[in-house]
Symmetry: C4
Subunit: 238 residues, 4 copies
């Protein structure tokens, strides 16, 4: 696979995150307008999000890696798969894309472009949900890279489909998407003041996954104690 | 892959578009009859449409390319992948197939064969939805062709599954299907007078995608300015 | 692929059809018990049926071809892919399996094992639905065989997922399954007196598909007239 | 594929079972909170479970085989694919993971960590459902191993998606998951007193599948009588 230049990689990250957020926010608005049953609305939010992830990761993955997510970029930086400066540029592109995606969705549904979310999403249960959700997401990506890279788009799409339902937070698992969702006062919104808790939990889940899966997925004859020590300090051990 | 003759290619385009439109219109009628919850009805319209697209593109793709969509045919004509005369014939076959598909669905549901839709679908938000929807559709096809052609049927099916929900227009993204849907006064209809707005938006989205993805998916060392200029005039640059 | 002996092939046809019918009938009972919304019930009937078809065709296809359907067996007999005597034995095994599947579902849901359906399914719109449904099913199988045999399980599962919704009859498309469904007075039942109309329509759709797709999928330089004549008499032409 | 050491294999079984049970229990709680329609709730429980199975088996399968299920481990022990001592250790890891998964879900949804289920699930219809469900599950795994090992994650995910609906018990098909579900008094719970009936039925279904599919999937020229005798005593015959 030929390498893509930085401009194209950053445009791919921004464009992919924009389409992802437009899907999350737009399908949330659509679902909320059409039904009074919240589980039906969540299905109408989940199925499009899972589907579009498969598509975006397949199409843009060869260009930029298709992170669309600062927590994923941090995981790859910990593993030294991306340089620090580029990782920072990725995060900026992702956040810019997320904001554009929210605006694009609002324009499609004839809503004010600029909004501030009022949906409360805070507390230990929500943060624990985000830790679990992002731990699983990064674990799935690392496992896919290890055993079946061609399946990663499908794995991520299916994982998020599940995580929307098995976490109390509907699994944001993505600080850039969370920022995009802070600027929509619709079904999928999150109050700006609740963003830091989510972001910290998501990054913690990503780091935990780098440690646990870094150890689990690489067979060796090291004694367990040393293996566990390395799991606690993954950036050195992998 | 051996080449198929023009007659078979045009029959494949007509037959595929007919089955696609029969699915869109038929599942809309079925869903609308069975439920009073509009989101459930849209799920009952979305899932069959996404599923049948995977099937039709897999089975008929090797015969005709499985465009089933004049906006897609225009995108390929811009890229010089199909001759102008054949592209025009494709569009005619697609429209004829769409009309036949609507009629076939009406016969299955014991409804008058000839109907005129009365559902209003107009205004900037709808047009912007169609631009986004078709931009994404053509981008997905170009990205699939570039990186994973075998995945295109699945990518298109999943993309449309998502786009039904993230656009306010439920993502027609297809002028031939829109014409077919103008002749059914059921769940999926569109007033004939609203067709031109949709068709212009869809073709605009397709052209935009040819430009943006033509630039994005092909790495090079060209300076950005020249690359962007080429993106604005894609038929020459790709 | 090694050949399987006739006993194993017939057991595979019976077992596969039994599990297919148990899924159709069982999920219909489950869905009907849990909701008053008929579209939700149909989703709860559709998704399991599509899913189990992918599974059964993948696992039993290498043993028997995984027809599970006399209309499909007739199509293969027309194409001389299966001997007449074996085709008849297949049909008997499929019908026996279908009856066992209905009984198994009744036992799972604590219902009387023997029942006679009272659901009326008759008239030209229903028959036309079954013609279209089976035409599409056989076309999908022939197209899959022609271009992507490994995808056939997925194609059939997705096609039936769509056809449940785009036909007014919910796409039986299978005389053996129809017979099994005549012996359950639940969501998915069909009056025994309505069976002949369905069976005739299904076989007609299958024969039509052998003709049309036999012509469409095989490129040649024959003049159109001769090609169309062969399409009308497909058993000789393919 | 390199071999993984016992510690990693057991951690993979525990972690995978924990994420599976967290999905089953968590999505059940989410669905139950959001809707009053039990079929919609079951869809919200089914889709995430099927999706997460595909993901977990893909990512952890190369480490441990991704049984996540003592009935599956027993089937492999009968076929001498896993040593007895390791099989016992697998079962313990699976049960420990299941209990952790239930606890993790309760923490995510801000519920008491320790609960005892009160949902009655007993009687011949339920046990017969579990026999059928586990027979099918093990049959699918054996068929996948025989003909298309790469498809096993998808096959298991789709099979369980179907089995949630075609069995009256919603297809536990897994004694470890059942134990985990005995400790949640939510949508997916099962009274502890009902566990033995489920476990016996599940193991019986698994043994039956080893016999039937052991015979069916391996072509030979043995006379039927001997083949059937071997099917009744599969551990010797395969």
């Amino acid at each position: 696979m030929e390498a893509f230049d930085p401009i194209r990689r950053l445009v791919a990250e921004a464009l992919g995150t924009a389409l992802l957020v437009a899907t999350v926010v737009g399908s949330g608005i659509m679902a909320d307008r059409l039904t009074g049953d919240d589980a039906v609305a969540l299905l109408g939010n989940t199925i499009p999000t899972g589907a579009v992830l498969v598509v975006l990761i397949t199409v843009l993955g060869p260009v930029s890696g298709a992170h669309f997510n600062p927590a994923v970029t941090i995981a790859f930086a910990l593993r030294r798969s991306i340089a620090r400066g580029m990782a920072a540029a990725y995060a900026i592109a992702q956040i810019a894309g997320a904001l554009a995606g929210t605006a694009a969705a609002h324009l499609m549904f004839d809503l004010p472009v600029l909004q501030i979310a009022q949906t409360v999403r805070t507390g230990p249960a929500q943060w624990w949900s985000e830790i679990v959700a992002t731990f699983g997401l990064v674990g799935v990506i690392l496992g896919g890279l290890r055993f079946n890279a061609a399946a990663i788009p499908t794995l991520v799409g299916l994982y998020i489909t599940a995580a929307y339902w098995f976490t109390a937070s509907t699994s944001f698992a993505n600080p850039a998407v969370a920022i995009g969702r802070a600027f929509t006062d619709t079904f999928s919104g999150i109050r700006p003041v609740d963003l830091p808790g989510f972001a910290v939990a998501e990054v913690a889940g990503a780091i935990l996954a780098v440690g646990v899966f870094g150890w689990l997925l690489h067979p060796s004859h090291k004694p367990l104690r040393r293996a566990l020590a390395e799991a606690a300090g993954p950036a050195q051990g992998t």
